[in-house]
């Protein structure tokens, strides 16, 4: 089915038609007819009438093919815009849900570090492949990247000395246990986008994110954040927190912690469930977690409509409004689905971002494991375009299903979600379809709800994770 019909509060009925990306208000009887509730004849009559208006038309889509496939060699030559450097595979913490903890089809913690030569080579590689980019971004990753702060400083210095003329921004994800005053000064002076991993209340932080010897990290992290705030208050306001919420945790308690904590009350906090990508075990979240997420999203919607003050809303859920603004933009701008197209979702591996591990091998991003099947090249050999092409055209794996799916343009599934163990799997990709369709259905309903109540979408454009 290439369209979907749904109802929002107020008994308003809408039709989303993926063929022309339209979202149209329709009469209740038509909605019932399209759903088949009034019989086949009524359904056919309604479809014919809508087709005369350019809706519910048979699909023109014949083949799944990503539009970037034909110019891939040019994109990898000129448009690589972001690089993530794995400066170390080591970490001073042993978080139980870490993707490198052994619970995932991925490497585990090791003492491997990136050499200065490899790091500089990676920078040279990026500069050579980003001629068409006015600005580039370099992220530092680990393990815990601040274990290699001296290397990070050397990389920044190398870029500043050697590569005048390019706008370069930097980012770093850290557990903040090594965020000393000197390091904080460096981060602030160079304008690093800082993402701190902190799981909320002391009890949670100290059991989930503890040092190798089992000691909790809460006190050290909070002390470092307080110091950062005092030394660089403006920079602190730009910092974000990433909170991983395992299934057995009380999300509400976590959100309350951040809202009430003197140091962190105004900090944007990203709530992240434990990823199931590459996990050796099933992860299932209970009703309580899902309900809290729903309540927070609803509060965000009400804030967006002016019914709640900003203080009533958890900052991290503003990104949901940004996601809806993004869909609204797609819906109002995308034209007809062409004969060859690809479900929305995958970025161009290596172009949107390249992840370089300590050995100089290149992967699409840090979310994907470092198995050889996921490798898309190396600093020495360059990009493996054939591998990139197959990852880019991931929809080809599930072509028949994708061609018939109403959520085609809104999909959002990238290669990371198609990995089963260490291989790319059609079945794995398909297993997520119901969840993807469900999420998009919810977003469409919320979007319509906002539209019907006069929401200003432009205000939240660009506010996304």
């Amino acid at each position: 089915m290439t369209y979907i019909v749904f109802q929002v509060p107020g008994k308003l009925n809408y039709l989303y038609d993926r063929e022309n990306g339209s979202l149209t208000k329709i009469e209740e009887t038509d909605a019932s007819a399209l759903k088949g509730l009034l019989g086949e004849e009524a359904q056919q009559e309604c479809i014919s009438r809508f087709q005369a208006q350019g809706l519910c038309l048979p699909t023109k889509l014949k083949e799944i093919e990503h539009p970037d496939v034909h110019i891939l060699s040019q994109l990898t030559a000129y448009r690589v815009s972001e690089m993530v450097l794995q400066v170390t595979q080591n970490c001073n913490l042993r978080c139980d849900y870490c993707v490198y903890s052994g619970s995932y089809y991925n490497r585990t913690h090791s003492a491997k570090r990136m050499s200065k030569e490899t790091a500089f080579k990676a920078v040279d590689f990026l500069m050579e492949h980003s001629t068409d980019c006015d600005s580039i971004h370099i992220g530092f990753y680990g393990g815990e990247p601040l274990l290699e702060i001296e290397l990070i400083k050397k990389v920044v210095e190398y870029i500043e000395n050697e590569y005048e003329g390019k706008h370069v921004s930097y980012g770093l994800t850290t557990n903040a246990t090594r965020l000393t005053e000197e390091t904080a000064d460096f981060m602030a002076n160079k304008g690093f986008n800082l993402l701190v991993s902190l799981d909320g209340p002391k009890e949670y932080q100290n059991t989930q994110r503890c040092y190798v010897d089992g000691k909790g990290s809460y006190d050290d992290v909070l002390e470092n954040l307080r110091s950062l705030k005092m030394r660089h208050p403006d920079y602190f306001d730009l910092m974000r927190i990433n909170t991983v919420v395992p299934p057995n945790r009380d999300l509400k308690r976590i959100l309350n912690f951040f809202a009430e904590n003197e140091t962190l009350a105004r900090t944007e906090c990203l709530v992240t469930p434990v990823t199931d990508v590459g996990n050796k075990n099933e992860i299932e979240y209970g009703e309580s977690f899902l309900q809290t997420m729903l309540i927070e999203r609803t509060k965000a919607l009400l804030y967006g409509l002016g019914y709640l003050e900003i203080d009533s809303v958890t900052p991290s859920f503003f990104t949901y409004l940004g996601e809806l603004a993004y869909i609204q933009k797609i819906i109002t701008t995308y034209g007809l689905l062409p004969e060859k197209s690809h479900p929305g979702g995958p970025c161009t591996p290596g172009v949107r971002r390249m992840f370089v591990n300590v050995e100089g091998k290149i992967f699409p991003c840090e979310r994907i494991g470092e198995s050889s099947q996921m490798e898309i090249g190396s600093l020495d050999d360059g990009f493996n375009e054939q591998r990139i092409c197959s990852m880019l055209n991931i929809g080809k794996l599930t072509e028949k299903n994708c061609k018939e799916c109403w959520a085609f343009s809104l999909c959002g599934q990238c290669i990371a979600l198609s990995i089963d163990g260490e291989t790319i799997s059609a079945l794995k990709r398909l297993s997520r379809c119901k969840e993807v369709q469900g999420n998009n259905f919810t977003k469409l309903r919320d979007l319509v709800f906002l539209k019907e109540n006069g929401f200003d979408f432009e205000r939240f454009e660009g506010v996304r994770r």
Binding site: Q74, T131, E164, K166, T333, R352
Partner: protein, 359 residues
């Protein structure tokens, strides 16, 4: 052999390496670029997708200054070059007693940043500000010289390359060519830049009249055999998420002059019949430009799905000829890849043939 150093070399200045024979007063060009622009050590063609030039880009400004006879410094606002870097290059050139030319944009930028002590010897090139006619009668003159207009679908569509390529062709063929170029530094190639008044505020009607009179005066005073006029910017908005060019200047120029020939430069992508017909109609009825010749620039706009921002990607001219040109249903329109070997001559010859037929 006299050399002109061009700095900072990047895509905007690739015409210097493509058409060194047109650079006035110099035999060759030295492209110098800060490493951050990703071109150092590469052929100068890397930034424009055209065939190799044989010129390797260097970052060694000091050594290059010893080898050159003059230096041209452009303003590259999209780069991260600070005012100090531009000033340092200028200062170094002056210390080496080299004649320096900068663009008006660079002068304005440096002045804004507090660098104002320009010696008189520094030449500034830009759109001509003297060419505003005080009052013009409400009458459009018929320009008694064949006019070729070069339009494009947006920035980075190789319009200036086409302007210079056609000027070069007709010059070599023995014609007296006037070119009104879209770049501030057009004068470095021996031609005139467009007049400043086109870029300022004011009503379209006034600009149309002014420009018509300006070109008429030019034709009466210099008696060219042919006038080539570049139309800055785009012919229409080409980004559905960001409307920043409605084709105002193409409209003004098209309605000020009845062009005999118009060439439209497109981004290199697949076009179907419907798209080509639409573009043809738009040029004809909005811009008074009957386009029969299309050029594919070595550039494409691609959209980042995550951010919905449009970006440009350079496409190699061989790739365009092999993969993109063949399926395009051009019909009666002629298709060119201007930066490709021999294509400018082919385009020029086609235009010459048509103009000669009209005599």
């Amino acid at each position: 052999m006299s050399k002109l150093l061009v700095y900072p070399y990047e895509e905007e200045l690739s015409v210097f390496c493509r058409f060194p024979q047109l650079v006035q007063g110099y035999d060759s060009v030295l492209p110098i670029s800060p490493k951050g622009l990703g071109l150092v050590g590469q052929d100068a063609a890397k930034c424009d997708g055209g065939p190799p030039t044989g010129q390797i880009v260097s970052s060694d400004l000091e050594s290059a200054l010893l080898q050159c006879e003059g230096i041209f410094i452009n303003y590259a606002p999209q780069s991260a070059l600070k005012a100090e870097s531009y000033w340092k290059a200028l200062d170094l050139a002056l210390k080496n007693d080299k004649p320096v030319t900068i663009t008006e944009s660079l002068r304005a930028f440096l002045e804004e940043k507090g660098y104002m002590a320009f010696p008189d010897s520094v030449k500034v090139t830009g759109y001509s500000v003297e060419d505003t006619l005080a009052t013009v009668p409400e009458k459009l003159y018929e320009i008694p010289v064949p006019i070729i207009t070069v339009l494009g679908v947006g920035d980075k569509s190789n319009k200036f390359d086409l302007q210079l390529g056609l000027a070069d062709f007709f010059k070599k063929a023995g014609y007296n060519v006037s070119l009104l170029g879209t770049k501030e530094y057009t004068s470095l190639f021996g031609f005139m830049p467009l007049p400043q008044f086109l870029f300022e505020g004011g009503c379209q009607k006034e600009k149309i009249l002014q420009f018509n009179h300006f070109v008429y005066k030019l034709s009466m005073e210099t008696h060219p055999d042919i006038i080539i006029v570049g139309c800055p910017g785009a012919i229409m908005p080409n980004n559905p998420f960001k409307f920043d060019d409605y084709g105002e200047l193409a409209f003004v120029i098209g309605n000020a002059l009845n062009a005999d020939i118009s060439v439209l430069s497109l981004y290199a992508m697949s076009y179907n019949n419907q798209a080509l017909e639409h573009l043809h109609s738009l040029c004809k009825y909005r811009h008074n430009a009957n386009v029969k010749r299309l050029n594919l620039a070595c550039k494409r706009m691609v959209m980042d799905q995550a951010t919905l921002n449009y970006r440009y990607v350079t496409l190699n001219q061989e790739f365009i000829k092999k993969e993109i040109i063949p399926p395009i249903p051009a019909g009666e329109m002629e298709l060119y890849v201007g930066l490709s070997e021999g294509e400018m001559d082919r385009l020029g010859a086609s235009i010459e043939a048509e103009l000669l037929q009209n005599i």
